[in-house]
Symmetry: C2
Subunit: 518 residues, 2 copies
């Protein structure tokens, strides 16, 4: 049903089969209001390539009533994959809805969407711990009950996760919901956090759920469809997104960009290459009649979101999703904070990250020291690595990764930021063989490299009789010398730099090592 085609970190490209055709994930579902259709599902499919749309079962029930002959595909006049939401958002907004949960399940079974959602109780962000626990308990109870009621084999069901800001409750909710026979899961409650730029809390919420859900099931992040945070959400392993914002924002003259939302009044240029923005001007949009203006803005908002989605998918194909997220998260300081929070989960992320990728590792800022590739290298150096039996250890700092030296019988250790120490015999392994890092290093990177060296020497320093550090002081200062403290009594430091390394090397190498030996 859900087949994962490609992975990068926790992000993945997948295929889902439904009764009305297949779709690729990650995907964005434009929200269709069945009572007020501005862009029809067919238009949305044709113009934006949308593969799945979402509508609200509760509103559909209120408006169209229960009619055994009226399926959701007829109501929306659309024969592609359709998902229905249950009215949970209406509960969050209005406190409750007047249809019992089993009725909402039976109604969806009747109208036969491709994916349906049970009626959960959203926790929200202002819930007390008691209330939050109650929303989790009731949602789980309803999820178990729904499985007893439902009978339509063409409908795949989605079990929502609640718990809000209480991550232990989210974990519990995900663990228990994951045991039930649901094909999809949805993570509830991020909408208010997203609206308030509380992205670090979104990271904790999503990661609490993802760490406890069966990873082979697609996950829908409720209410998250803004291009500025889509890449981070995909990197966390979310697969389905919905956007009502494209039309709600349009009605409010708001223009989405991958760096944030701008108001039509602020615009002097249309900062976008979509079909709308490359064929008109700000002035022309402002002059349009209201309905037409809303349509143009809605179409732009969808174009930029689907464009972003394709960029994210291609980044996964290229194995550079995290680098893409590192770029995108600089759009807002709160996103940057969220990225750093996400990188704190790197040991978990590492478990899903492919061991080799087709693209070189790019350094994109100090958070690169927490990249899964870096964590993996350090873990392996710690748990699996044994140095060859050699008397002399030669440490080449920084510039070393590009230098091929003949060190005779000595063991060569290179300092390769942001990875830390790399024994020469491992340097052909991805991504040690293929990485791009600016010469001027950030303080965190220098500190991490020094720590890596110190750890290495603590573990293996005693196996060498002498240690020679070629230190590029202009880059590393005294940090590497200090890191050699565990082998201080047998250390020789040679101040070198990229330019004189070869010269120093020729002067000192074989002969010099001999002298030092003697």
């Amino acid at each position: 049903m859900f087949q994962i085609i490609k992975r990068d970190g926790m992000g993945r490209i997948g295929k889902v089969k439904t009764a009305h055709g297949n779709f690729t994930t990650p995907t964005l579902m434009p929200v269709i209001d069945p009572t007020d259709i501005v862009l029809t599902p067919r238009e949305i499919k044709r113009e934006f390539g949308a593969e799945l749309i979402i509508t609200n079962a509760y509103l559909t029930l209120l408006h169209f009533g229960k009619n055994p002959d009226l399926k959701i595909h007829q109501i929306l006049d659309y024969d592609g994959p359709i998902m229905t939401d249950s009215g949970g958002y209406q509960i969050l907004r209005y406190g409750s809805i007047d249809v019992p949960p089993e009725e909402i399940v039976r109604y969806q079974d009747l109208i036969s969407p491709d994916i349906a959602t049970i009626l959960d109780i959203p926790t929200g962000v202002n819930a007390s711990r008691e209330y939050a626990a109650e929303t989790v308990r009731i949602t789980l109870e309803r999820a178990r009950e729904a499985l007893r009621i439902l009978s339509n084999p063409n409908v795949m069901w989605c079990g929502p996760i609640q718990g809000g800001l209480f991550t232990d409750l989210v974990e519990h909710s995900a663990r228990e919901m994951g045991k039930l026979d649901y094909k999809f899961h949805a993570i509830g409650s991020p909408v208010e956090l997203l609206n308030d730029y509380r992205y670090t809390e979104v990271v904790d919420l999503v990661m609490a759920a993802k760490k406890n859900l069966p990873l082979e099931r697609p996950v829908h992040l409720f209410g998250a469809g803004h291009p500025m945070m889509l890449s981070l959400a995909v990197a966390m392993g979310c697969d389905l997104f919905d956007s009502a914002a494209y039309i709600l924002f349009a009605r409010d003259d708001r223009y989405m960009t991958a760096e944030g939302t701008l108001h039509l009044n602020e615009l002097e240029f249309l900062p976008c290459e979509c079909p709308v923005c490359s064929s008109t001007t700000v002035k022309e949009i402002r002059r349009e009649p209201l309905d037409e203006k809303i349509k143009l803005l809605a179409r732009h908002n969808l174009h930029v979101t689907f464009g972003e989605l394709r960029k994210i998918r291609q980044a996964i194909v290229d194995g550079r999703l995290l680098e893409y997220v590192q770029i995108k998260c600089r759009a807002h300081p709160s996103l940057l904070a969220a990225l750093k929070r996400f990188m704190d989960y790197s040991e978990f992320i590492e478990r899903f990250d492919p061991v080799t990728k087709k693209s070189a590792f790019f350094y994109s800022g100090s958070e690169s020291i927490k990249r899964p590739e870096v964590i993996r290298h350090q873990q392996r150096m710690k748990s699996r690595y044994t140095p060859p039996r050699q008397d002399t250890l030669i440490i080449l700092s920084g510039f070393g990764e590009k230098t091929n030296v003949d060190a005779g019988d000595s063991h060569v250790l290179k300092i390769v930021p942001p990875f830390g120490v790399v024994p020469e015999e491992l340097e052909e392994i991805y991504p040690l063989s293929q990485n791009e890092v600016p010469k001027e290093l950030e303080a965190e990177v220098i500190a991490a490299a020094a720590e890596s060296l110190e750890n290495y020497l603590k573990r293996h320093g005693s196996s060498y009789r002498q240690v020679i550090l070629f230190n590029d002081r202009s880059c590393w200062g005294e940090s590497l010398v200090r890191a050699c403290q565990p082998v201080a009594e047998k250390l020789k430091v040679i101040q070198a730099n990229e330019k004189n390394l070869n010269k120093l090397w020729h002067e000192f190498s074989a002969e010099w090592i001999g002298i030092f030996n003697g």
Copy 2:
């Protein structure tokens, strides 16, 4: 002729009047090969909104010969603004051309483009110092000679700057060329550097020229038209760009993105929202006949470049150009290195940067400590600031900027990263009043803030009888305590954090200050 409408750092939006209409800068000139037109100038104007195109006078002369009745606008069948280049690139590529420089000037005078370029000698990147000096000398000589020859009042002339990697020669070239009566300047020799991702050298080259050119003249950066580096080039104060790459890349199946160039073979999705990419698929493009495929890729390449240009223009309008560049430069480690190099020129940039902007100051990485706004604040604190006469100095660290405290007769100093110390009485001034910074600070930012505090206390510490530091150790560690060394003998440190600050404050404030006093 050139009117600057809006500034942001050294970037600017301007208007240029020509004999065939006006155009806005920064702008991109698609290169038209007069002998092989794939997309016509009219199509380019209509589909991409291009306001200025460029063609090569030397190639035009070879192909069409000298005909007093044949103007460039007829040759290209286009009535909008046209610039001509002179054949300098052909010299760079083939060593020399067979038309004397005065002939190239006279020919352009004859065919009457709106902007014309004298025939310079490109320095290139492999030049010896002697050869580089010679290219500068000859180019200047030709520039002086051209001014004696030219006579067509409808043509505005461009004087190219040479010198290549020898920045002192570039400076000399710019200073001398700037004294001559040219309306435009062009910076030569970046093409090879750009092709090899040697962006830091491009920064030094461009800045050497810009620092010595009359700033009210528009500057063309030869051969720079890739969307991945356009924003950095605009931030350095370049106004005109040309792109032959859109078609050359297309012929080679290369697909431009703002993060770099991808090959059609690598694509599984079209990572773009342009009219081409939102109406077709990778598979469909691959199946097209060769000519059609080239056209589609060329159209995509131009759409993404013009979209990027509009994003850059709007970023200038919003006063967030540097933040935009900080995002974009994370696309490649070499661009990130170039950004850091560019920020080293921040004291110069600061002179052009508006004192207030409409958008909040966003922190986007450790390089933010070199933003012109930060440099300006620090310069003013150093040269203009005198503290009020008060006995007690209260230092609030980090969290302080959001806290309004009644400190009685004391003087309150806040630590506001990345600006450093901000006396309470200045905190309503832009951008101190309006900035967003993640809570978790990078090492460079902590060090810079501590240095700022230490400098303040060295200058003004003696004017206080006592100093109280509310230190949020979780954020700052001991760095601020160490920075208080100049007032160590009258210092009281209170360990506080965001949560207990108000409580501590209430417990200690007026009364406590009195006790401490006594």
